[in-house]
């Protein structure tokens, strides 16, 4: 193939691509849907009755390779119940500047309380805003649930680790 026809062939290739649709999208007007397993901003989950899934075991903090998580646990009582079992996370903080979104916290969590969700639009204007507190991370209470702390009958929520299915 001589040089002239090779250049023409290249030109033809780029010319043809004008009639292929664009592969880019107009973010932020158009957003690309994320995949089911996407690791975005963390969420702290609740049970249907409104109780928090997090039992304050700090396993997420221990598993975190970036040391981004800080958990402090307090005691539950039946009059003031936040989560099933003995303890709940009274302080739960994730430093989003340290977090690398590896998902180890989700893997380590024994109650499926922390899940990496779909939100990837994290921006802050100062460092203090990068600390996501428990209030920010906790999901809102569902329609069939009550806000925490709840007053519950004694002995009803003694078990802290639920029966779970393997995630897909």
């Amino acid at each position: 193939m001589n040089g002239f026809s090779a250049i023409l062939k290249g030109m033809w290739t780029t010319f043809k691509s004008m009639f292929e649709g664009p592969v880019t999208i107009q973010y932020p007007e158009v957003k690309r849907p994320v995949r089911r397993r996407f690791k975005g901003r963390h969420e702290l989950k609740r049970y249907e009755n409104g109780l928090e899934k997090c039992i304050g075991c700090s396993l997420c903090a221990a598993a975190c390779p970036a040391d981004a998580i800080f958990v402090e646990a307090s005691e539950n009582t039946d009059e003031q119940r936040f989560s099933p079992g003995e303890r709940y996370a009274s302080t739960y903080e994730i430093n989003m500047l340290r977090c690398i979104f590896c998902g180890y916290c989700e893997d380590a969590c024994p109650t499926e309380a922390i899940i990496l969700g779909d939100n990837y639009e994290l921006s802050f204007t100062d460092r203090a805003q990068s600390i996501y507190t428990r209030e920010k991370l906790l999901n809102p209470v569902g329609p069939s649930g009550q806000a925490t702390p709840q007053q519950v009958p004694a002995g009803m929520f003694d078990r802290s680790i639920p029966v779970m299915v393997d995630p897909d």
């Binding site: 193939m1 040089g3 090779a6 250049i7 062939k9 290249g10 033809w12 290739t13 780029t14 691509s17 592969v23 994320v34 995949r35 089911r36 397993r37 996407f38 690791k39 396993l59 221990a62 598993a63 390779p65 970036a66 690398i100 979104f101 590896c102 998902g103 180890y104 893997d107 380590a108 024994p110 499926e112 990496l116 680790i161 639920p162 029966v163 779970m164 299915v165 393997d166 995630p167 897909d168």
Partner: protein, 410 residues
């Protein structure tokens, strides 16, 4: 022009500069570390006679992140997330070599399905890495559309990685003893569609470059690396195979089951930038062949070892078994101990021999972790290749040896 135009930050560099430069006969020019054609943060101190490169002194370390030391400060499983960040165009390959080293150190089994998926993903990653290389190396030579087309295809690979691992680049998908999770249902159809489309796309890149007289003028005969020089400098990967030496670790020291796959080792004679370009283009086609074989070999089964001393139990066991909860907590807090022994595992990364040396001390953290990274070793040949060429050719040469600075500086 005098010496004052370049700030020599270290005396180590000053002694490398010739007397002619110090006398002002040749010009010293600083290229990088922010120069876009240095593929990251590579600083080159160039000694120029007019437009011709007399000497070239690479100055690395701008992306040093202390990953080796950090790995020694964390447990074996936790430090795997850092391996993604070494060579960020070959994340799955880095995961693979690190997992292979741990598995060899603690003698951990990997199920057959996991082995196959590992090969599938490392080859997919090789295609992605070569696409980035092709796009950026062509962009350095002012071929803009190749860059756009390559990234279009690479995006589909990243999407498949997101499908499987939840992350586009920093996947951490391979874990000691297998994989994080099995492939999602929609993965194989998406992959097959991609494999059907890709050969035509590679033809498209070749239409733009392979016979293009401008591209040939810029690459043929530029940066010739002879067989002896390549062997003398321990060059590996496509850069070595471009000089006509058929050495591929996948064939020479098979790992992760590569001995069961049929593929050719791509070599080209010539040793110049053009030969290295042809090797990588043909390697992409070879990777498609390996992936197709891997899909055919996929069989149902577990994707992670059942050895509870090293692998956390599945979530479904946590609610029913006390033993499982104990193992789960022990593994996520303390990690698993590895014997006081040392291993070295090499794999063929898209850039060459990527090896990890791990030494355990009986505890849950490695005593020493060393990475033999291909970019670091291959970069050493740059002064040799660039001598006597123009500055514009130097850009083509940097591109053709395919360095990733995260890999070089680690």
């Amino acid at each position: 022009m005098t010496l004052q135009q370049v700030e020599l930050t270290s005396d180590d560099l000053r002694h490398l500069v010739s007397q002619r430069a110090l006398d002002g006969e040749t010009v010293l020019l600083n290229m990088g570390p922010q120069h876009p054609s240095t593929h990251g943060v590579l600083r080159l101190l160039l000694e120029l006679d007019g437009e011709t490169v007399v000497n070239c002194i690479p100055d690395i370390g701008f992306l040093h992140t202390g990953i080796e030391k950090n790995i020694e400060a964390k447990t074996y499983e936790k430090s795997e997330v850092m391996t993604d960040r070494l060579d960020y165009l070959n994340t799955m390959g880095n995961n693979l070599v690190y997992c292979l080293a741990i598995e060899k150190l603690v003698d951990l089994d990997v199920p057959a399905r996991a082995q196959t998926i590992r090969i599938l993903f490392t080859e997919l990653q090789r295609i992605a890495s070569h696409l980035v290389w092709l796009g950026t190396a062509a962009l350095d030579l002012a071929a803009m559309s190749v860059f756009l087309y390559c990234f279009r295809e690479r995006e589909r690979i990243l999407d498949m990685m997101e499908m499987a691992s939840g992350q586009r680049m920093m996947t951490t998908y391979f874990r000691p003893g297998g994989l994080w999770r099995d492939l999602p249902e929609e993965f194989i159809p998406t992959l097959e569609q991609f494999l059907d489309d890709l050969p035509a796309r590679i033809d498209q890149y070749e239409d733009l470059l392979t016979h293009n007289p401008i591209f040939i003028d810029r690459t043929k005969g530029i940066g010739v690396l002879t067989e002896e020089q390549a062997l003398g400098y321990s060059i590996t990967g496509p850069t070595l195979r471009g000089s006509g030496i058929a050495y591929d670790i996948r064939r020479a020291h098979p790992y992760a089951g590569y001995e069961n796959y049929e593929f050719d080792i791509i070599t080209e004679e010539g040793g110049d930038c053009y030969a290295r370009y042809l090797v990588r283009i043909r390697e992409m086609r070879e990777s498609i062949r390996i992936i197709r074989q891997a899909i055919a070999r996929l069989e149902d089964g577990p994707v992670r070892s059942n050895n509870r001393k090293f692998v956390p139990p599945p979530r479904s066991e946590l609610g029913t078994s006390m033993e499982a909860v104990i193992h789960h907590f022990k593994l996520w807090t303390e990690g698993f101990p590895a014997p006081a022994d040392s291993v070295y595992v090499p794999v063929e990364s898209p850039r060459g021999e990527l090896g990890v040396f791990l030494e355990g001390d009986g505890g849950p953290k490695p005593y020493r972790c060393y990475w033999r990274t291909p970019s670091f070793v291959n970069l050493q040949v740059l002064p040799l290749l660039s001598k006597g060429h123009f500055v514009a050719d130097l850009v083509a040469i940097i591109g053709s040896i395919d360095i990733v600075l995260g890999d070089t500086d680690r």
